[in-house]
């Protein structure tokens, strides 16, 4: 059960979050078909750090990018993404 430092809410239990996909798997709606399918269907899947998109679904509902280690599960960084918010 990770503790994820939500950029908006502070440290919260993983139960409140959902994993979406890795950053490299985001399909740009404007991309050509081949590029889009490459992004959708291939993963580096490293045995180390990767950048992942998670959502604080049962908290503030905002999206964020976690830099997380796939073996140690250490979360090295969390970055907010989404529309500009009022601080």
């Amino acid at each position: 059960m990770y503790e994820i430092a939500c950029p908006h809410c502070g440290p919260r239990a993983q139960t409140e979050f959902t994993y979406e996909r890795t950053v490299d798997a985001v399909v740009d709606p404007a991309a050509d078909a081949h590029t889009a399918m490459q992004a959708l269907f291939t993963r580096a899947n490293p045995m180390g750090l990767d950048e992942e998109i998670w959502r604080h679904t049962y908290g503030c509902r905002a999206w964020m990018v976690l830099t997380r280690h796939r073996v140690t599960h250490v979360i090295e960084a969390v970055k907010a993404i989404g529309p500009e918010a009022l601080a």
Partner: protein
């Protein structure tokens, strides 16, 4: 020549302190080259080696295992064996395997304790029952056994299920495959290893592949912690770590690794006869020969290579299990463990060539690889021996993701965490 296993020989051993048994497999030094190199000494890799030797007469084969054989997902699953899939590509492959399971102990002269005790999916409403009938009808039309059970029939087989109408997920019926069941997972690896070794296959443990030997777009061998080993054809067979090993060859796969947890309770006298699964819920329950209730649920649906799960995921699966079988409540969870699964992007395996010559892939088994062990080994051996797909693994190509010919049993699309 190894002493064949038999009751007689065991009795003989009773008099000599069982001193007449030889090691089940040799511990050879790797040779400099082989006709076929199989990376991964799990059940699938060992079965592949066995069928290469047995069916195709190719015995100059090395199985390279980074740790100890059968120590990955072969030794970490919940031992279910079944072929009750809806989609024909899947049920045809798994059914071919199920037939091999039925003769496996004799074939290998190693009792893998395959026990066809029946595997059922419970239905909890009319919608579930239609879906189960559809699956059963699809199987039956392709010659695979499947039978719908009424609640009364279920009660006879599994009296401890909550068959009351007031249950949160009342049980309206089930689809059972009687020829399905469970097996002793370790024995499958050991049995294939012993049989393959007897045919001349080198099983090399503590030999980790650290890179590939490459000649243009062709793989000609592997670098390992025990030196360079050349091979005519090289087959990756490391489900759970496919992404990592394929990555050594520069390949990116339609696979994400996830942790799948399982658990076993303390042993009790027989209380669950068959394998119980559910169409609406995500838990599965069976009882081992030692009496422990073996169960699991959904994977931890985010990427991980750690064999370390998240407790609330297991708690969720247990809640489902206790809700359908309340008598489980006072049993105690004895042990939990985790495996790393190759979650492919349509939920189906990948068996076939890669874009790199001489390099083949067998992976993407998601949480269902154990039951496929013989079918996977058979078809992969065919592919490694001939360079071509067997008709059963032809649909399971790596290209299918880019062409769109995906085999999506649960129909949730490319994101494994939605599966």
């Amino acid at each position: 020549m190894k002493t064949p296993y038999s009751a007689f020989s065991l009795l003989r051993g009773a008099l000599n302190g069982q001193k007449h048994w030889q090691p089940a497999w040799r511990d050879p030094e790797p040779r400099s080259s082989y006709d076929v190199i199989i990376i991964g000494g799990g059940g699938h890799g060992l079965a592949t080696a066995y069928y290469l030797a047995k069916v195709h007469g190719i015995t100059n084969v090395a199985v390279l295992e980074k740790s100890w054989i059968g120590g990955g997902n072969t030794g970490r699953n919940t031992t279910l064996v079944r072929s009750n899939y809806r989609l024909p590509q899947l049920h045809n492959l798994f059914e071919f395997g199920l037939k091999l399971w039925h003769g496996m102990s004799d074939e290998l002269n190693y009792n893998v304790m395959f026990s066809p005790r029946g595997a059922m999916f419970l239905g909890h409403n009319d919608g579930d029952m239609i879906k189960l009938a559809e699956r059963g009808d699809a199987m039956r039309c392709d010659g695979i056994d499947a039978e719908l059970l009424s609640p009364k029939q279920i009660a006879k087989l599994e009296p401890l299920l909550d068959l009351s109408r007031g249950a949160r997920f009342p049980i309206d019926g089930a689809l059972i495959q009687w020829r399905a069941g469970t097996a002793r997972h370790d024995a499958v690896a050991w049995g294939y290893a012993r049989a393959a070794d007897a045919l001349g296959v080198d099983i090399i443990q503590k030999c980790e592949v650290t890179g590939f030997v490459r000649d243009g777009n062709r793989i000609t061998g592997v670098e390992t912690t025990r030196g360079r080993i050349l091979g005519g054809r090289t087959g990756i067979c490391v489900a759970g770590h496919s992404g990592q090993v394929a990555g050594l060859a520069g390949l990116k796969l339609p696979i994400e690794s996830q942790t799948l947890q399982a658990l076993v309770t303390e042993g009790v006298k027989p209380m669950v006869q068959s394998v119980v699964m559910s169409q609406s819920l995500h838990c599965y329950i069976s009882q081992s020969d030692k009496g422990g209730i073996v169960m699991g649920g959904d994977p931890d649906n985010w990427p991980s290579y750690a064999r370390r799960g998240q407790p609330t995921v297991v708690e969720g699966a247990i809640a489902q299990a206790v809700s359908i079988m309340p008598a489980l409540s006072r049993l105690r969870m004895l042990r939990t463990w985790s495996g790393v699964t190759d979650m492919s992007f349509d939920g189906a395996p990948i068996i076939g060539p890669t874009p790199i010559d001489g390099l083949y892939l067998n992976g993407g088994w998601c949480y269902g690889g154990f039951k496929a062990t013989p079918a996977s080994g058979w078809t992969y051996a065919h592919t490694l021996a001939t360079g071509k797909a067997h008709e059963l693994n032809a649909p399971f190509s790596l290209e299918r993701f880019m062409t769109g010919a995906t085999i999506d049993e649960t129909a949730v699309g490319p994101m494994p965490n939605h599966r």
